[in-house]
Symmetry: C2
Subunit: 318 residues, 2 copies
Amino acid sequence: MARGYTIGIDLGGTNIKGGVCDAEYRLVAQEEIETQADRGPDHVIARMAGLVATLISKAGLSAADIAGVGVGAPGPMSHSAGMIYHAPNLPGFVNVPLRDRMAELTRLPVTLENDANAAAFGEFAAGAGKDVRDMVMLTLGTGIGGGVVLGGQLWRGAFDNAGELGHTIVVPGGRPCPCGQKGCLERYASAHAVAERVREAVQAGEPSSLRAKALAGDDFDARDVLAAQAAGDALARRIWDEACFHLALAAVNIQHSFNPELVVFAGGLIRAGEVLLGRVRAHFEALSWTIAPDRPRLALATLGTDAGTIGAAALARS
Amino acid sequence: MARGYTIGIDLGGTNIKGGVCDAEYRLVAQEEIETQADRGPDHVIARMAGLVATLISKAGLSAADIAGVGVGAPGPMSHSAGMIYHAPNLPGFVNVPLRDRMAELTRLPVTLENDANAAAFGEFAAGAGKDVRDMVMLTLGTGIGGGVVLGGQLWRGAFDNAGELGHTIVVPGGRPCPCGQKGCLERYASAHAVAERVREAVQAGEPSSLRAKALAGDDFDARDVLAAQAAGDALARRIWDEACFHLALAAVNIQHSFNPELVVFAGGLIRAGEVLLGRVRAHFEALSWTIAPDRPRLALATLGTDAGTIGAAALARS
């Protein structure tokens, strides 16, 4: 089938992941390489183009089989201009016309997308949202990324910045966020925030089985909090529950804003499974209105770290 | 011009407003009649059909000139089914197939829409939003209604309930709302809430020049609070400012959710003009992030009480 395949590239600060997808969004070949971000944009873009060639070969295809390449990358960026304005984890990536540079090197049509949007579109095309038309995704990692699919299309907004749901304010006057706001969702419910809030409480003198590890430093993360809450640590339970509460509150606001069929949670924190989803659902039931039966379904992402690759490939098709 | 006109009907608990619009969304005839809601749905629907005939005649047109009729009505309702599920201010309006009943009586195509959506679409088509593609509107009345226009289309959501922004939660665990939630935007920033919060504070013993009037009862409303804050009353100033703060917080969340070009404020409270908009803008500047230049413009609605009629007429065309 000529041009029946697309390629998705997921550009991260440490690694670049790539995959070839068929028309049913199945990955037929995959490859992951180091970003080598410290060597600057030219080097990184050349590596991405090289990865495209590797993937075509690995899938046993030729360039003529490839309809296009989608690149999911950190932002802020412009989808319409194909430009990365500024990527904090990628040194030198300031006003880089990544789409056109990749198109020159690969001689294929290239589309550039925000990585959170790409991951959301992946779950929509082939994962938790494959049976719905409208879906909002929250990716719970270092921060909280968002993606919004309405009527089968990614909604990007007037400024290509729609779905920055980690920066909706859930606590007026709350915890300061590096974005300049206070009380952003991601300051309460990202994987990073969960660990950080435990550390702050321990530093303020709250007792916890996590005391030594939390104070020791870098090794300490949300997995430790998850384990400690399972073992009955009161501080870990409170912080974990508050994260679930704020995710539920965000889901209520998503319900009344977009009114989607489905809200999907993705990212590192969902390794907790039902300990996350069950508690978010319980808070959501308690927080949400009773006057109309329009609650979205809440679900966990199913594609894991392949969502960004598959989504970028799907966007190269759409 | 055959079928160059559409009719918009704005169904309220007290009055029914109607208008004939040309293709540029100009009102060429208008009429307002009593709803006589206490006489039940059959009577009200017959009055609406009669109003359509009156409007056609008043505009000097015939039915052949009318492409369709749009009806904006209170909900909950289903646009796709053309059905009002339950309208608290219209006795007997429970599961009423209003669209099809009106189509039978008028022999014209009829579309049914949520009144807040119709008003938002009116401002989009012919008012504050006529030069943008993406717009979110908040109508500050007894409650707070919302409407969302994305890419030139009304966004209704998977359950026809999108844009219920008055019920986004702005204060976790905050003021109880009849909807069953706590801390809804409309419990802080509707015209009703502004007066109610002053009354509650006075009842709790806070000093205010509004004391006597607030305790006297029904006559007391947001206009009194506006006048008192202009005269320097400290309580009125605080409550008014908090309303503006929460509207600004809602605007931040709209920014990061829909990322529209424009947020429009409508409804009775905007008679305050700059005393509302200026303060909302100041809070918005202080609350919103500094890492991307994607703030929507904030503006007041321009069509007043005609927005619902014009919007319903515009929806009959789209």
